[in-house]
């Protein structure tokens, strides 16, 4: 029987979610898998791209809470039974992590970290990784601006002022810190994180950990072209033994289970520093398939409990360039997603062949609470 794999993050926009890239990688490895695309927005382009999702469904925003999201997923599962779910967006991860067992009981496999490990990657706790032996830039967590003068002694200038969820600014003086502190505290709440500035070069590494300290595979990339938001629009795989070892040690220290992206700085001092962990595949993950290390497919197999042998390091010099193109789509596809919340390009499996009731149509949940940390 062929597998059905559900993937979230269909927002293949100019600041893309990883869903379409994950699906393309899975399709490379498994041409007859059925793909269910799960989107949070009607206008997420991934819903309409040919050859991406066999079935596209809308989900309510994670902000509606665990109950409503799981209810919706189970309704989808009843219509198109899902074997594996690969979530790809930051804002939804805490919920899926909480629901792991619940989903497993209903036949939906996932391969995710546990809640405690997930919480460790929060920006205000990154310094705790130092206790686990991971090299991170020195940092202080600020809740009170009266402590700003101490930064000069503790970290020195320049330093990086980071918001709890997003945004980072380089500060040269205490005055700069105070400025960004208030801005970031207003935008994302407290605390604000002050990190020692590490001059150097950034590398992004996509990884899959086996949850027992082992690294299944990783692909390191250097960005070649950036969007105005600083996201990769083009890049090339790199190979460096020291970086490989750093990645292996980090995954081991965390016993990371599932996909993640490590942002690593190679300092001008030659040292490597972990800047951030994103607990999911990055939008550029198709590069891993291109480099012969199909990490999304590895995650599927691990979710299913199949043994996956650790992969050798990826070759250097595999390049990607993203492009954008204008997709022509029938208004009826837009209508289907808008009114019924689903598009079917493949037959709906037997037991649930009856069309879903056309009934209740809804606007979105509270606009005022639209997630500040979503989509990724």
């Amino acid at each position: 029987m062929s597998l059905t794999i559900a993937v979230t993050g269909m927002n293949a926009t100019d600041n893309p979610g990883p869903g379409v890239a994950v699906i393309r990688a899975i399709r490379d490895a498994c041409p007859d898998c059925t793909i269910v695309g799960l989107a949070y927005e009607t206008l997420d382009p991934g819903n309409y791209m040919p050859g991406v999702a066999d079935h596209a469904y809308l989900l309510p925003y994670p902000s509606v809470g665990v109950a409503a999201l799981s209810e919706r997923l189970l309704a989808i599962h009843a219509l198109t039974p899902i074997d594996v779910l690969i979530p790809t967006l930051d804002a939804e991860l805490p919920i899926w992590v909480r629901l792991q067992d619940f989903l497993a009981d209903r036949g939906i496999a996932t391969f995710l970290p546990d809640a405690d490990t997930l919480a460790l990657r929060n920006k205000d706790r990154l310094h705790e990784l130092a206790d686990l032996g991971v090299s991170v830039p020195d940092s202080v967590v600020l809740t009170d601006p009266t402590n700003i003068p101490k930064i000069a002694d503790e970290l020195g200038y320049p330093c990086v002022v980071k918001g709890r969820f997003y945004d980072a600014y380089v500060a040269q003086t205490a005055h700069d810190v105070a400025h960004w502190f208030h801005k970031l505290a207003n935008a994302w709440g407290l605390p604000v994180i002050i990190q020692k500035f590490v001059p150097g070069t950034e590398f992004d590494v996509v990884c899959v950990g086996d949850g027992e300290g082992g690294l299944i595979g990783s692909v390191a990339m250097r960005k070649m072209q950036l969007t105005d938001k600083g996201k990769a629009w083009g890049g090339v795989t790199v190979r460096d033994r020291k970086l490989d070892a750093f990645v292996r040690d980090t995954i081991a220290a965390l016993s990371w289970r599932g996909p993640c992206e490590l942002e690593v700085m190679r300092g001008d001092d030659g040292g490597l520093y972990l800047i951030e962990i994103n607990p999911r595949f990055p939008a550029w993950v198709y590069l891993s398939a291109g480099a012969g290390r199909n990490l999304p497919w590895a995650a599927v197999e691990l979710a299913l409990g199949r043994p996956v042998a650790p992969m050798p390091p990826a070759p250097a010099g595999v390049m990607f360039l993203r492009h954008s193109l204008d997709q022509i789509l029938p208004l009826s596809d837009f209508e289907a997603l808008t009114v019924r919340g689903e598009i079917h390009r493949a037959p709906v499996p037997e037991p649930a062949a009856a069309p879903s009731p056309p009934a209740p149509v809804a606007t979105t949940a509270t606009l005022t609470t639209f997630p500040t940390e979503f989509p990724a």
Partner: protein, 87 residues
């Protein structure tokens, strides 16, 4: 005369003139469909009561507000003139 409106059974409405799309409730779909098919606005309460389980007074009140809203958001504005359909 409302030929700029494409309304499907599902309640999905496309306004060809503005490019905007909408969703309507079942009764909303029923009423707008009647208008598109040329019904006189005066007859809408009668039609609604005949098909739906609603008292005439309530039907009249709701239709009045619905039509006001349709014209308020510009759906009833015709292509070639400023003329509007009103209750």
């Amino acid at each position: 005369m409302l030929d700029h409106l494409a309304l499907s059974e599902s309640g999905f409405l496309f306004d060809a003139r503005t490019g905007l799309t909408y969703t309507l409730s079942r009764t909303g779909t029923f009423l707008l469909r009647s208008l598109i098919d040329g019904a006189d606005a005066e007859t809408l309460p009668e039609r609604l009561v005949a098909s739906y389980d609603v008292e005439p007074l309530v039907a009249r009140r709701d239709i009045e507000q619905f039509l006001f809203r349709l014209s308020d958001i510009g759906v009833l504005r015709k292509d070639d003139s400023d003329e509007e359909v009103t209750a």
